[in-house]
Symmetry: C2
Subunit: 375 residues, 2 copies
């Protein structure tokens, strides 16, 4: 692996996943990490849509930030001469971006916010610039939200905690610090001794490739395991809590997240282990009553039967690839948001949090209605 | 993939995993399936030990048969001139073979049976030949036991059953027909419509490589999934039962099997899905009261961090590799043996089955004390 200084997407003690440079959107190609560091430059909405679809960029918050820049690119590239033409271009861009991946709600949250801003702004000449500023703002908010999640969640982690996580809900899944990994990073920074069990997360190996890389970079002790080992370690008493991210949290608190999360939640429940979901409020979708209505993306079977171009299974064997699953709220101990930690029943609290005008105010202070994190 | 006729280890409608040819023990190299068919020839005990340790051959019953031939090779190769010398050579061979893999009890069951035969037989000149005959007999019994398990287990599978299995407990894990796959094969042969969900079984991918290959060869409909998807499909109602093999079943019915089995059992229990273990009585170890005493093999972390020589995780990341886990008997719905299907409480029934002189009688008929399989 290259040394830290050789990776241009590492900035100071953090990293950048999605950034703007010389009029283009830059993404670190997460399909190639940890062994190859490559920047993908997106100049058009089609480039952005392709990068999201093929998982150059993944992770619900990072996809949201990327889609916001996609809307900014649409405005920048538009040759429309009037407001109607520009709005039409933005509407088309939104439609293209919204259909790239169905499960993460942050994508539509971001494109809707960008489009609503365009609708509300009559000054057509300055709109491209204003949309770019808004994308920067969404990116900045994302970082701030991650750090707030880190602060609230860190309070849940006792000295010596052994935490199991799934997929990558780290800096690479956001603009730069992470959701599920944020409490771990913050607690580690404050001097707490922690150990992380990292699910490798088949088929895409986000755990083995990305989370292991991030934790190594942050100097946080870890042990990589296959997804099938989680129950074994829970039964041995080696897991104090599970923390995962989320792609969508619906009105009753049901959570869509990377395939395998539901199995972990059932296992945690069977062993009396707290199961935490860490996510910004942009992940909340009040339009759906329960998780049964969340669209689950089904990706190519080749991603299961092949690895790095190598065929694992016999040719012609059929495989399934649901990329997400839904964890019912009954199995969720608490949700860690940028406003604080909420515990069941989730419904009313989620509704209040989502209605908070997060996008119009700094998010570094607790909303008064969110329970403060425990000490 | 090569056509069926090109695979020398396929015989008639079945396959051979372990066979004797021209004075040597032949094994199909299971590390290379399904893409490369290669026969490994073992001429010495050291060759056999190495083949077991490196997983050229795997699966508790197949390891048992292989170890029996290893004992026969030891006698064949011995230059001892008297009975004491031959027994010493066999004792050394047993010690070498017994330590190759700690979890599967069939290994020690087979070497003990071979050694006990040598101890009881005074005719030193004919002993090598008698041991080879005994190894052939163990192999033949294994095949017969698998078919008996198939007959008993098939009765548990209703028309249209959707069965989830883990690892490979098929013909490749035995002398030729399988344990967990035997009921599926037998039910399929009798005309029942079935569908198998195959856990890929990280890290060694026995499901993706071996079970998928066997089911494809047998023409049984299947869908390959990652281990992390089992809960998702159970929650959707797509799984009617789980059938797995076993590496060791102890006195109270606790079961050691491939890592990931315990997680599946917890998930099956949470969803009210029957969880069946299919294994010959040579897998029963009455010397251990509970599964807590079963030695769990920990294999190299490289088998988790690398795949086919390719590094998956960042260099230097620590990984764990417990190769087995223990499922407590409370989570086991029934155990399918060659004598019939037993249901909880298991203790007394296992004791009676293990005391049955299986090695001295054909095993095609039900022992009178085993419950007959349900219709």
């Amino acid at each position: 692996m290259a040394s830290r200084s050789e990776w241009p997407f590492l900035v100071g003690n953090g990293m950048q996943t999605v950034w703007w440079e010389a009029g283009t959107l830059c993404l670190v190609d997460q399909r190639k990490l940890p062994h190859i560091e490559e920047t993908v430059r997106c100049c058009t909405v089609a480039d952005v849509a392709d990068a999201i679809r093929t998982m150059v960029v993944r992770g619900a918050p990072a996809i949201g930030v990327t889609a916001a820049y996609g809307m900014a690119l649409a405005a920048q590239n538009s040759e429309a001469e009037d407001r109607a033409g520009l709005l039409d271009a933005l509407s088309q861009a939104k439609a293209v971006l919204d259909t790239t991946r169905p499960t993460a709600v942050n994508l539509r949250w971001a494109t809707t916010r960008m489009f609503d801003l365009a609708l509300a702004d009559a000054a057509v000449e300055t709109l491209p610039e204003r949309l770019l500023t808004e994308a920067h703002r969404i990116r900045g908010e994302d970082e701030a939200m991650c750090h707030a999640i880190g602060d609230h969640g860190a309070a849940l982690l006792a000295e010596g905690s052994r935490i199991l996580t799934h997929c990558n809900a780290g800096g690479l899944a956001t603009a730069g610090y992470g959701t599920a990994l944020a409490p771990i990073k913050t607690a580690h920074s404050s001097g707490k001794r922690l150990h992380v069990l990292v699910d490798e997360t088949r088929p895409f190996l986000q755990g083995a490739r990305l989370t292991a890389w991030e934790l190594k970079d942050a100097g946080i002790p870890q042990t990589l395991i296959t997804d099938s080992m989680a129950g074994y370690f829970m039964r041995r008493g080696d897991v104090d809590c599970v923390i995962v991210g989320a792609d969508r949290i619906v009105a009753n608190g049901d959570v869509a997240n990377k395939i395998g999360t539901y199995s972990l939640a059932v296992l945690a429940n069977a062993h009396g282990i707290p199961f935490y979901v860490a996510a910004p409020t942009s992940t909340i979708d009040l339009s759906l009553a329960t998780g049964d209505h969340i669209p689950i993306e089904h990706r190519s079977a080749d991603e299961v039967t092949q690895l790095a171009g190598q065929q694992l299974a016999p040719d012609g064997v059929q495989a399934a690839h649901p990329a997400f699953d839904v964890t019912p709220h009954e199995l969720v101990t608490a949700i860690i948001t940028e406003y604080g930690v909420i515990r069941p029943p989730f419904g009313e609290q989620l509704a209040r949090l989502r209605q908070t005008p997060a996008q119009d105010s700094p998010v570094m202070t607790d909303a008064p209605h969110a329970e403060p994190a425990e000490a």
